[in-house]
């Protein structure tokens, strides 16, 4: 079950990504239960949920690596074919040995033609594209280093360049902040937002903490108990909405512009009868602001 809140800002053109009633059951648990939401072009969306909430499963379904039990996924209005070049993907981490003979620029180049058979002919156009992409993610200075020797943050940049060089319409990022320190994480978020805006790419970035994404996020998809709530932060990250989602009292506290989600109800948190469709104004008006 999903609660989608009306988004007055979304353009009339078709959504880049549309999930409709997607459900999947794994290992005896309903991981996703009739999840539905849509992303418009160029939107930066955070996919928020705790560990085990189903974020990675959802991303893999969107990529076409896993089939849902029910529901449909459409990218750019079309069902997702396995070879869709419309989706770029940045995994959380890659396992590669330090002495593996692959430079950063080699990995980025594979973003253009990694699935083609046969030998690769030299191409100046391709080299230029690779250089430009590396510049865009500020990875030019270690372009010729082995991928396996790069730090976590440096590897993330290279993976982002790899994903974006093919000019996809949608960029999926699987918990990029999980293994990075606070500063590197912030840099990656800002970098991704900037490049995505330049290329008009919609971004779906999964994380378990919403705060690093607040400065750049247009929308949020909050995942809990297999269900999803989709809308702006003000619409979704509220005590009543999240309590409904978790099926358990949850309080959303806002401190210093940051958001804290804690279990249990507090006196000062939002209180609204569940299952009603609050107007945007009402939702904005409630709650505690510092």
């Amino acid at each position: 079950m999903t609660t989608t809140h009306p988004d007055p800002a979304s353009p009339a053109t078709g959504p880049v990504l549309a999930l409709d009633e997607v459900s999947i059951r794994l290992g005896g648990r309903q991981i996703l239960d009739r999840v539905a939401f849509a992303l418009a072009a160029g939107e930066f969306t955070g996919l928020i949920g705790s560990n085990g909430a189903g974020k990675t499963t959802l991303l893999r379904i969107v990529m076409g690596l896993r089939s849902p039990d029910a529901g449909t996924v459409r990218v750019g209005g079309k069902p997702l074919a396995r070879r869709a070049r419309q989706v770029g993907y940045v995994p959380q981490k890659i396992q590669i040995e330090p002495d593996a003979p692959l430079r950063a620029r080699d990995l980025v180049a594979l973003g253009l033609d990694g699935e083609r058979l046969g030998p690769r002919l030299p191409s100046r156009t391709r080299n230029r594209q690779v250089d430009e992409m590396l510049e865009a993610v500020d990875a030019a200075r270690f372009a010729d280093e082995r991928v396996g020797t790069l730090s976590g943050g440096e590897q993330q940049r290279v993976l982002i360049a790899h994903a974006l060089i093919g000019r996809p319409r949608l960029l999926l990022m699987d918990e990029p902040l999980a293994n990075l320190d606070l500063r590197s994480g912030q840099e990656i978020v800002e970098l991704t937002s900037r490049v995505a805006k330049e290329q008009g790419v919609a971004v779906l970035l999964s994380a378990h903490d919403i705060n690093p994404l607040l400065p750049v996020m247009d929308k949020v998809v909050y995942l809990a108990g297999g269900r999803a709530a989709c809308g702006t932060t003000e619409q979704v990250v509220r005590s009543d909405v999240l309590s409904e989602l978790y099926r358990h009292p949850v309080s959303v506290l806002r401190v210093d512009g940051r958001i804290l989600v804690v279990a249990g109800s507090t006196v000062t948190a939002d209180v609204l009868p569940p299952r009603s469709e609050p107007s945007v104004a009402a939702a904005v008006g409630r709650g505690v602001r510092a």
Binding site: R83, P91, R103, E115, G118, P119
Partner: protein, 304 residues
């Protein structure tokens, strides 16, 4: 001047038929081994390569019993076992290693038995040496074009799958997201490795063929960071070591102590090791971290 040349290239070297065959097949096989070896190292499948060659022992000794040349035994073992190993799944857990080790023990034991039968039935005592340590100078007849054909096949497969193989070695998710059939590719590569190991078993024997697969590759990886360059360098190193080994083995025919020549495979392996040692003199490039691995506690160098 000609005296010096004569002592380096013993007379008869360039005109000897077996030497020609050895130079040709040796170089081609070593080159393919080097190139495939780079991917083996990239995909961390060195242990699989080792197992393949040990299992090839069974194929080789069985082939002799059937009266067939060792190449066919090796190839059969390489393709069948390579395919089976991939299909059986590949996890690098402790228990997996133990199980593999035990299977290897049983297979080697069986090979010992077959070799014993070979020796007693055909009274050719050289079978053990041929299978385990190679028979490069005995390569002749149909074996030469067959070897070249297999080598060509392996190289073509590698060239065809170069980019998808590279990408899926880095991250199978990234590859799958682009529509690459990762499992099929893995199977193809295992078979290519099986064939490669079989070919190199012909040159240096099953016991030493991991050296031909991994040695030049490991050396090349220390010297260059470009994938294509690494493959080329590994191929060149392997072929070079083989040629030099052939030359030295030929020259050694009059050396002490018994004047019957020193084994080719010993030379080739020693040269490969030497090359690796020389490459190790290079200063490390980047960081070092302390890693507590499953096996033992070491300080593992993240450097090159």
């Amino acid at each position: 001047m000609s005296g010096v040349l004569n002592s380096i290239f013993e007379p008869g070297f360039f005109s000897s038929g077996p030497v020609h065959a050895a130079l040709l097949t040796g170089a081609v096989v070593a080159a393919v081994s080097g190139a495939v070896g780079v991917f083996t190292v990239l995909r961390s499948q060195s242990f699989a390569g080792h197992s393949l060659s040990d299992l090839g022992t069974l194929g080789g000794s069985g082939a002799f019993l059937l009266g067939v040349g060792p190449l066919w035994g090796f190839i059969t073992a390489g393709v069948v076992v390579g395919g089976a190993m991939d299909l059986a799944g590949s996890q690098r857990r402790n228990s997996r290693d133990v199980a593999t080790g035990i299977v290897l023990g049983a297979v080697l034991g069986l090979s010992a038995l077959l070799l014993y039968f070979d020796t007693t039935s055909s009274s050719t005592t050289g079978v053990t040496v041929t299978v385990l340590f190679g028979s490069l100078f005995a390569v002749s007849g149909f074996t030469v074009p067959a070897t070249l054909a297999f080598a060509g096949l392996g190289l073509s497969a590698l060239a065809l799958c170069y980019r998808p193989l590279l990408l899926s070695s880095v991250s199978s998710d990234l590859a799958a997201a682009r529509g690459i059939r990762v499992r099929l590719l893995g199977l193809v590569f295992m078979i290519v490795m099986g064939v490669t190991v079989a070919l190199s078993s012909l040159i240096v024997g099953t016991i030493l063929s991991p050296a031909l697969l991994i040695g030049p590759a490991a050396t090349a990886l220390r010297l260059t960071r470009r994938p294509l360059a690494a493959m080329g360098l590994a191929a060149a190193l392997g072929a070079g070591a083989t040629w030099l080994g052939i030359l030295l083995a030929y020259d050694s025919y009059h050396w002490p102590p018994i004047g019957d020549g020193w084994p080719v495979s010993s030379f080739v392996v020693a040269l490969i090791f030497l090359a690796y040692l020389l490459s190790a003199l290079r200063k490390p490039e980047r960081r070092t971290e302390t890693v507590y691995s499953e096996n033992t506690v070491h300080a593992v160098s993240g450097a090159v």
